[in-house]
């Protein structure tokens, strides 16, 4: 699905400021830690859906978590020796 990430040309590079964490230093640090550990980011996902698929309904947090776990531990090694 090319272009699924959004339609506006010349968007800003996504980064720590885009993912629902434009708050305090603590919030930004928490966001970095979550991404490093590969933790689920429900707020970020909900925001993605609202931005790119306004017509889609946002799944509940527990549904989102179930899909996240399947993705993360479903196939292929995610950790090394």
């Amino acid at each position: 699905m090319p272009g699924d990430g959004g339609t506006a040309r010349q968007r800003r590079l996504p980064g720590a400021t885009e993912r629902g964490s434009s708050g305090s230093l603590v919030a930004r640090l928490a966001c970095v830690l979550r991404q490093v550990a590969g933790m689920p980011d429900y707020a970020g996902y909900a925001e993605h859906l609202r931005r790119c698929h306004p017509e889609a309904s946002v799944p509940s947090e527990s549904d989102y978590y179930a899909v996240y776990l399947r993705n993360r531990y479903g196939d292929g090694p995610t950790r090394c020796c």
Binding site: R9, A37, C52, L69, G76
Partner: protein
């Protein structure tokens, strides 16, 4: 411009001087600073010049080209992630127990061979492999190594790669579990702390899923805090005459415990145990590695291990075999690791924002892992050589008590007294450190030494158990995630024979496949615990060989990608490390199977045991088991070698077809889409 050039010249000079000091130094001790300086200087030069050459000339990274994270963004796995965050994420995924244990074992050759292989191996081999596979996967919407092998070389190669990965997983889990067993046997403190991680993880699981959904960081912080409480509590358990016996177990009991744990963790819901443990071990790992780096820089300990020991002749007590080829398979992770190809073609390629980020994350991330391995080597090399061998030689070699051990070690030319060995064990809160082969305990002693010198004297025992807990925690996390991954792979393979077996949601299939995977590594683990030569002697080389052969498969795929993208003139960037790796690994495999020395060769060991059974030295039942295991190990080694040679041949056929223009050079990359991000 001139200033910049002068700067790089200075870095190169500093590294060269440090290497010179390392090579020419002939004294009692040498400061770890030289080792750290030689390594970091070389990494910087390698990153700045060689990885730039790879990025610009060989792979031709293009920031105008949209990455899968941008094109396929779905807010879940395809998530554009800023590069330093992704660097941390990728590093946490690739760095495991391998880079910590391998260099410690290889320290029996002295610190120099390991350092040279770690630094040059990573710059010319390991980092190149990670970078190219990450690049290839990024250009193919995040496809896995197996899928790339299948699409670019053919279905048989893909299937072989899959079987190889499953077999490697079994050996890897067995040997890592053996490292934990040797660290925890007869250690109530260690066992208590590690047992506590299970209820802590379950508590975190309920916290994140049921009580306060989504509060993953909060739960992890609580988990880390509880873990530290358990660590301190372990001291009181070990000191208590009533509690200590409940947590004191033999190696065999612990092995069966880990096997039971691995099975339960694999069939339980992931949110309850596996996922929270994964978070816990990730944070502990990153925190401890940063602490270790800080400690080494603050303390800059003198290294007491000789640059090169007499054991390069193959008579080493930790594992048998000469410097070539065994240094190059004992140190796999840290120099080059085939396993990384699986991670580099997993989650990371789906998160890159720009193509050029692949250089920092693929090449740079692997340099960072190599640095971790260098630090582990420093931690082992700062021990008195006598102490190092007392901890790492098998108990049967050392004669079972501190007096005989001191005698044996003196015979090797290193001075150590029984009081020193006992004193060290007492200072770290253990009854005995003798014969704890596997690298974890000697690394923990070294780390405890660094930490207590840097952050607080007198806490040696606490730091030792902190280090043991940190190693055991993430090794056991590898065991449960690895068992699960192995189970999925087995189900996929079995599903091709009988379809219902391939359904991962069908509970009987799940239980059956989990039991098969756990049974596989559990068998090797138990045999390793019972092995009179110490287990590590046969299992670690087997793991090293399998991991390096997987790296050879990855380099074959990398070579195919380079040739297919029309860059055949640069094919040496993967061919040179491939040639070296095949030479070392196939030689090692051959020697492990056919060498005449019974400590080294599986088959000659089997004949020796047969002889012992005939003369009555060994009982018939034990003898039959040992002979069967030797033959099994030989078959596994030969299987790895055959698979690799087959992958090499099928890849070579493809290369020749393309180079002689009988087949078009066409890589199956996803089509070019221009990025929408502002440059």
């Amino acid at each position: 411009m001139l200033l910049k050039r002068m700067g790089w010249l200075l870095v190169a000079l500093a590294a060269a001087v440090a290497w010179g000091v390392l090579a020419l130094h002939r004294g009692e001790t040498i400061n770890a600073a030289w080792l750290v300086l030689a390594a970091t200087g070389s990494y910087l030069i390698g990153y700045r010049f060689y990885s730039r050459f790879l990025a610009n000339r060989v792979l031709v990274l293009n920031d105008r080209r949209a990455t899968p994270a941008e094109r396929l963004a779905n807010g879940r796995d395809f998530v554009p992630t800023s590069r330093w965050v992704l660097f941390g994420h990728h590093f946490a995924a690739i760095a495991g127990a391998g880079p910590l244990v391998g260099p410690v074992l290889a320290a029996q050759f002295g610190y120099l061979p390991g350092t040279i292989w770690l630094v040059f191996g990573v710059i010319l081999g390991g980092a190149v492999q990670d970078f190219i596979i990450l690049f290839g996967s990024m250009r193919r919407d995040g496809k896995s190594l197996g899928q790339m092998a299948k699409e670019e070389t053919g279905p048989i190669t893909g299937l072989l790669a899959m079987v190889a990965v499953l077999a490697i997983m079994v050996i890897l889990l067995a040997v890592l579990a053996l490292v934990v067993v040797n660290a925890l046997k007869d250690s109530p403190w260690g066992v208590f702390t590690i047992l506590c991680t299970i209820p802590i993880a379950i508590l975190m699981g309920f916290w994140m899923k049921v009580w306060r959904p989504g509060r993953t960081l909060e739960a992890s912080a609580a988990g880390v805090a509880l873990l530290l409480v358990a660590l301190v509590g372990g001291r009181y358990v070990a000191a208590s005459a009533t509690l200590a016996p409940y947590f004191t177990y033999s190696g065999l009991t612990i092995a069966y415990g880990i096997i039971a744990y691995g099975f339960i963790a694999s069939v339980m819901p992931v949110w309850m145990l596996l996922c929270p443990r994964d978070y816990l071990s990730t944070f502990m790992k990153i925190g401890t590695i940063l602490l270790l780096a800080l400690g080494i820089v603050l303390v800059l300990p003198p290294l007491k291990l000789p640059a090169v020991t007499q054991f390069i002749d193959g008579t080493g007590p930790v594992f048998a075999g000469k410097l070539f080829p065994f240094a190059f398979i004992t140190i796999a992770c840290g120099a080059i690791s085939g396993f990384h190809a699986l991670v580099a073609s997993g989650t990371t390629p789906k998160m890159l924002i720009r193509e050029t980020d692949a250089r920092l994350i693929g090449y740079g991330g692997m340099l960072m892992e190599s640095f971790v391995a260098v630090m582990a080597l420093c931690a082992a090399a700062l021990l008195d050589p006598g102490i190092y061998f007392a901890i790492n030689a098998p108990l049967t070699t050392l004669g079972g008590n501190v007096h005989s051990a001191a005698e044996v070690i003196r015979g090797w030319g290193f001075t150590v007294t029984p009081e020193q060995i006992d004193g060290l064990a007492a200072s770290v809160g253990e009854k005995s450190l003798l014969g704890r082969t596997g690298g974890a305990p000697s690394l923990a002693v070294g780390m405890a030494h660094i930490f207590s010198s840097a952050f607080g004297q007198g806490l040696m025992a606490l730091w030792y158990h902190f280090a043991i807990m940190f190693e055991a925690l993430f090794i056991l996390t590898t065991v449960d995630t690895g068992t699960r991954v192995g189970r999925f792979m087995l189900q996929e393979l079995a599903g091709q024979i009988w379809r219902p077996l391939g359904r991962t949601s069908w509970y009987p299939s799940t239980v059956l496949a989990s039991a098969a995977v756990v049974g596989g590594w559990g068998y090797f683990l138990v045999q390793g615990v019972l092995d009179p030569l110490g287990g590590i002697n046969s299992l670690w080389p087997l793991f090293g060989i399998s991991n390096q052969l997987l790296a050879s498969v990855a380099l074959c795929v990398g070579t195919t990608l380079i040739i297919k993208s029309g860059k055949a003139r640069y094919v040496w960037v993967t061919m040179l490390p491939l040639a070296w790796l095949l030479a070392a690994t196939l030689t090692a495999g051959w020697q492990k199977v056919f060498a005449d020395d019974p400590r080294l060769g599986f088959l000659s060991h089997a004949s020796l045991v047969a002889e012992q059974v005939r003369t009555g030295v060994t009982g018939a039942a034990v003898g039959t088991r040992l002979i069967f295991n030797d033959r099994l190990d030989a078959v596994v080694t030969i299987t790895f070698m055959v698979i690799t040679v087959l992958v090499l041949l099928s890849s070579a056929r493809e290369w020749i077809l393309i180079l002689t223009r009988r087949k078009p050079a066409q890589a199956r990359e996803a089509p070019f889409v221009e990025t929408a991000y502002a440059g």
